[in-house]
């Protein structure tokens, strides 16, 4: 739109607007380039370090910023064979998959009920769901320590499966309410006339139509579980039950010698699943991110 106006104007005014627009564009690229350097420096530096041996890292004469002269895969090898990293990876996967499934089973029918069916108090409850989403995990971990303890699940990753829904359920319900409410009323009335019951309505009409919302909610739940740090730090004390975030930071960093090459390798591998998901489903990811404030 603006390009078109600029073009017609440039015909009239002899190119001064086009030139100023070109300069604006170049400035934008330069500034964005600087911001991109700021945002991408840590992952880039981690990648550079991950390919170096400990000797090369501690050699202060070579630039730490340049890729290795003799790239090595020994870091991955040590990480895989001599540490508990594979166990953390497996535990993280189990916990995340369980919690994402539980979250969807709880959040989708609840959002359907609060957004479309309505019952006494459903409006207040929808607001309550949003408010509980704003309660941070750092406010809850101490009382939850007692709650998890009373279930006998301290120091077990099943305890994490119990408490992680506090991170995911409120937000997923909230954005699903928004998606369900945006579906036209005529659709469920037509289904009712055809004799569908509420479960059929949910599965045959609402879930297929609100599928983008469902994907966005799933991605959110996955990312939140994978990245959670406070709960595993508080509730898990043995390596065999630990998950990736807390495991990488407690055992690898607190070892006798800092092996930064290995630590950076672990960091990159652990950050991979959310990044891969994001690379393929970026639009859903961004839709979910912005939906929290715009829907409902």
């Amino acid at each position: 739109m603006t390009a078109v106006t600029a073009d017609t104007a440039s015909i009239v005014k002899g190119g001064s607007l086009r030139r100023s627009r070109r300069w604006a564009l170049i400035t934008s690229y330069v500034c964005l380039g600087l911001f991109a350097i700021f945002f991408l420096t840590p992952p880039f530096y981690a990648l550079v370090t991950a390919t170096k041996s400990t000797e090369e890292i501690s050699n202060q004469n070579t630039s730490p910023w340049l890729p290795s002269m003799s790239p090595t895969l020994s870091n991955i090898e040590t990480l895989w064979t001599q540490t508990d990293f594979p166990i953390y990876l497996r535990n993280s996967a189990v916990v995340t998959v369980c919690v994402v499934a539980i979250t969807m089973v709880i959040a989708v029918p609840a959002a359907f009920s609060l957004g479309r069916m309505k019952f006494w108090g459903s409006g207040v409850l929808a607001t309550g769901v949003f408010l509980t989403y704003l309660v941070p995990d750092t406010l809850l971990f101490l009382p939850l320590f007692k709650v998890v303890g009373s279930f006998g699940l301290l120091n077990s990753y099943w305890g994490l499966v119990l408490v992680y829904p506090t991170l995911t359920v409120p937000f997923c319900t909230w954005i699903m309410i928004g998606y369900f409410q945006s579906i036209p009323k005529e659709l469920d009335e037509a289904a009712l006339i055809d004799g569908a019951n509420h479960l059929q309505m949910l599965f045959k009409i609402f879930i297929p139509v609100a599928l983008p919302g469902l994907i966005a909610a799933t991605i959110f739940a996955f990312t939140a579980c994978w990245a959670e740090f406070v709960y595993p730090m508080a509730f898990i004390f043995t390596s065999s039950q630990q998950v990736l975030t807390a495991g990488t930071i407690t055992t690898l960093v607190k070892a006798d010698v800092y092996q930064w090459g290995m630590i950076m390798t672990a960091q990159l591998i652990a950050a991979m699943p959310p990044l891969i998901l994001y690379a393929f489903l970026m639009d859903y990811y961004i839709a979910g991110l912005t939906a929290g404030a715009t829907k409902g």
Binding site: I106, T138, M264
Partner: protein, 313 residues
């Protein structure tokens, strides 16, 4: 015309139900029972894992260390008498407010810059700039800790090449505070970028055209068109980020673990230190409850903003 028919049918429902408690009445009763059953698991999760622990935290904060005696406000009076507590209050506020201001500024600038680009390239840039927000925060902070390492800091190496000063990023109290804020800005600014970019796209193009016809400069368009149209989303994002930043645990714990001399502790890390590491759960709970007032105030205004926005759309 066609959409008025179902609506009259719906209002007929209630009239018929009152007049003759027959099948329709039963259906609406059944409907709200089913609706309640659908929402029941949600109620259990929210009640059992969020509301109950919240109330339980308040009860815990009135107990002594061994949790067998009620001491009223004893934990709070103890906290008020400690210098560390006031340092934590100061650092938490400094950390949250400074970081949110910079995140919002960087977010607004980058959102405008991305919006300036031809629409083909926008997706690519947006995708690249959001990477810090996608990486798990505790792990990317670990990357920062390596960048700021006392002996091998890559920034200090660069400074050494040009004869600049060697900075104790994590050992000097002031620089350690700066580093914690820097990491937070790095992590949070992309979230602002995405929110503002979405808001920028929702401003109707006619408004800018009208402003151009009236002879407005780019700066005037920003002040008189863009910012007023985005006011609501800006305040929601800022308040939301204030809550998240205020309650942050990952950055300070991984970067400095509260040191040097407790100078970088925020509420969350100090509560963890007292409650889990030192085993004084009631005292830790008292500290974490200090996050509650700011949370309440922010939540109130966010809710108001979200409702307003719902009406606008």
């Amino acid at each position: 015309m066609s959409d008025t028919i179902p609506r009259t049918a719906a209002s007929g429902n209630t009239a018929a139900a009152i007049a003759r408690p027959g099948s329709l009445y039963r259906m609406s009763r059944q409907r709200s029972t089913i609706a309640f059953l659908f929402a029941l698991p949600l109620l259990v999760v929210i009640g059992g894992l969020i509301v109950y622990p919240g109330v339980y935290a308040m009860y815990l904060s009135t107990l002594n260390t061994r949790m067998n005696r009620f001491i009223g406000l004893g934990n709070y009076t103890f906290l008020f008498s400690r210098d560390t507590f006031w340092m934590v209050v100061e650092q938490s506020c400094l950390f949250a407010i400074t970081a949110v201001i910079f995140k919002a500024l960087i977010g607004i600038v980058t959102a405008h810059l991305v919006n300036n680009l031809p629409s083909k390239g926008q997706r690519k840039w947006r995708g690249m700039l959001l990477i810090p927000w996608v990486m798990p925060l505790s792990l990317s902070t670990l990357g920062w800790r390596w960048l700021l390492d006392p002996t091998y800091s890559a920034f200090n190496w660069l400074f050494a090449q040009v004869g600049g000063p060697q900075i104790g990023w994590l050992s000097d109290p002031m620089w350690a505070r700066f580093s914690a804020i820097l990491v937070n800005v790095w992590f949070g600014a992309p979230f602002f970028l995405i929110m503002y970019l979405a808001a920028l796209k929702s401003v109707p193009g006619e408004l800018y055209e009208a402003a151009s016809i009236d002879g407005a400069t780019a700066w005037q368009k920003l002040i008189h068109v863009t910012l007023p149209m985005m006011r609501n989303i800006i305040s929601i994002t800022v308040l939301f980020s204030l809550i998240v930043t205020f309650a942050n645990y990952d950055i300070v714990n991984v970067l400095t673990a509260g040191g040097p001399r407790n100078m970088t502790h925020v509420f969350a890390t100090w509560a963890f230190q007292l409650g889990i590491a030192s085993g004084d759960i009631p005292l830790g709970a008292s500290v974490s409850l200090f996050m509650f007032p700011i949370l309440g105030v922010c939540a109130f205004f966010i809710l108001r903003g979200v409702r307003q926005r719902g009406r606008e759309i």
